[in-house]
Symmetry: C2
Subunit: 235 residues, 2 copies
């Protein structure tokens, strides 16, 4: 390898490197930087798109230099995988929290899952944009694929269980819990796409109303027209 020494201009001082907070252990500081770069990647995708996202964009978004990315992640690809992993974990945690806070009845749990999916913190333009960017690439990246499939399966399972409980307790006939749960989850993802493509026509509230409209037909006792969301949310 030949010389690649830079002729640094001594008259220009280097930008002050952001200093870790006092008392923060090196290990924790390292974790914080990784997190910072992941957040910058999310913002970067939202701003520039998946295809146009450069390492330089991520660095700029984080207020750091380009070299730093390969110091904390072995490649751009590894950073993208870490970012999707972060999104998945964040989403799982969000749903768990909402479910734990909700009433234990089957209807309340289903309602909570819907609320979780359309919460302001997650069903916003930035998040939806980034999720669809990843989904668009999933097909050719096995690591993306696995993360998405596992999340989808887990959510599907929770929804099916709650649905089965609702069917059993409510004495409903001729309803396949698994099919309905799959349709419901699909509808939620599709409504996200709608919010992405037609934000004028579909907002969070309209989307939630759409989901409830279909639930009302299947489970009139719990989601019927005379019952409000508050009724089912109460334990």
């Amino acid at each position: 390898m030949g010389m690649r020494l830079a002729a640094r201009d001594e008259s220009v001082p280097l930008a002050a490197a952001p200093t870790k907070a006092r008392g923060m252990s090196r290990e924790r500081a390292k974790e914080a930087r990784r997190r910072q770069l992941i957040e910058a990647t999310i913002d970067g995708i939202a701003r520039k798109g998946f295809a146009d996202l450069k390492i330089a964009d991520i660095a700029a978004e984080a207020g750091l230099s380009v070299g730093i990315v390969n110091f904390y992640f072995k490649s751009k690809d590894a950073l993208l995988i870490a970012t999707l992993k972060h999104l998945v974990e964040d989403y799982e945690q969000h749903v768990s929290q909402v479910l734990a806070r909700a009433g234990k009845s089957a209807a309340a749990q289903i309602d909570a899952m819907i609320e979780a999916d359309f919460a302001r913190t997650h069903a916003n333009r930035k998040h939806v944009t980034v999720w669809y960017a990843f989904w668009g690439e999933t097909r050719w990246r096995p690591e993306f694929s696995k993360l998405c499939a596992d999340l989808s399966t887990a959510f599907q399972q929770s929804m099916t269980e709650a649905m089965q409980r609702l069917i059993d307790e409510g004495g409903y006939r001729d309803i396949d819990a698994s099919l309905v749960a799959r349709g419901l989850n699909a509808m939620i993802d599709g409504l996200w796409l709608d919010m992405l493509i037609n934000p004028k026509q579909t907002d969070r509230e309209t989307a939630k109303a759409s989901v409830r409209a279909l639930l009302a037909g299947l489970f009139p006792k719990e989601f019927g027209p005379r019952r409000s969301a508050n009724d089912v949310s109460a334990a």
Copy 2:
């Protein structure tokens, strides 16, 4: 501009250029090549993904040289836009045909739209893959965005009209046609995503069954458990 002359090896003959069929006018031949390149682009996206698709891949897929792409399209971007336009037009035509063949009752028309969406020719791995690739990029490409939004709006409108007719004629109460139509369309898109991410769990038939399961709850007379798809399909 300096010389960029190639020292072509005269001993190797150029590959025979595919010749247009006899009697084909130049205008038609040109259209055929454009179409060929668009098909190659679709195959290329399906095979390599949006992010990794090179001009060389498209040319190879079409069995032509790299130079040809910029002869028929002013840029790679223009080719991608033409490809999406082709997909949109093809899909619109497909839906029109299926609707025209179906019975005129509201239920039959709704059923036909579902059948159209899950037809073997369109709800297959290749098509779904490519659509999601485009959707993933839509956010940052106004041309993509407009094409997708227009298609979505048109389909939404047809579905809402049929739904309203079903509600009026069937004497249903407390059902908002627009909300239900939006939910239904969203569910279809979401089931496509499911087929993409979890192909083992979700195939065309399961997906259709999911849609019908929800419709059965809302419109028991037309889609209820005792009625088969054939019943509503008949005029």
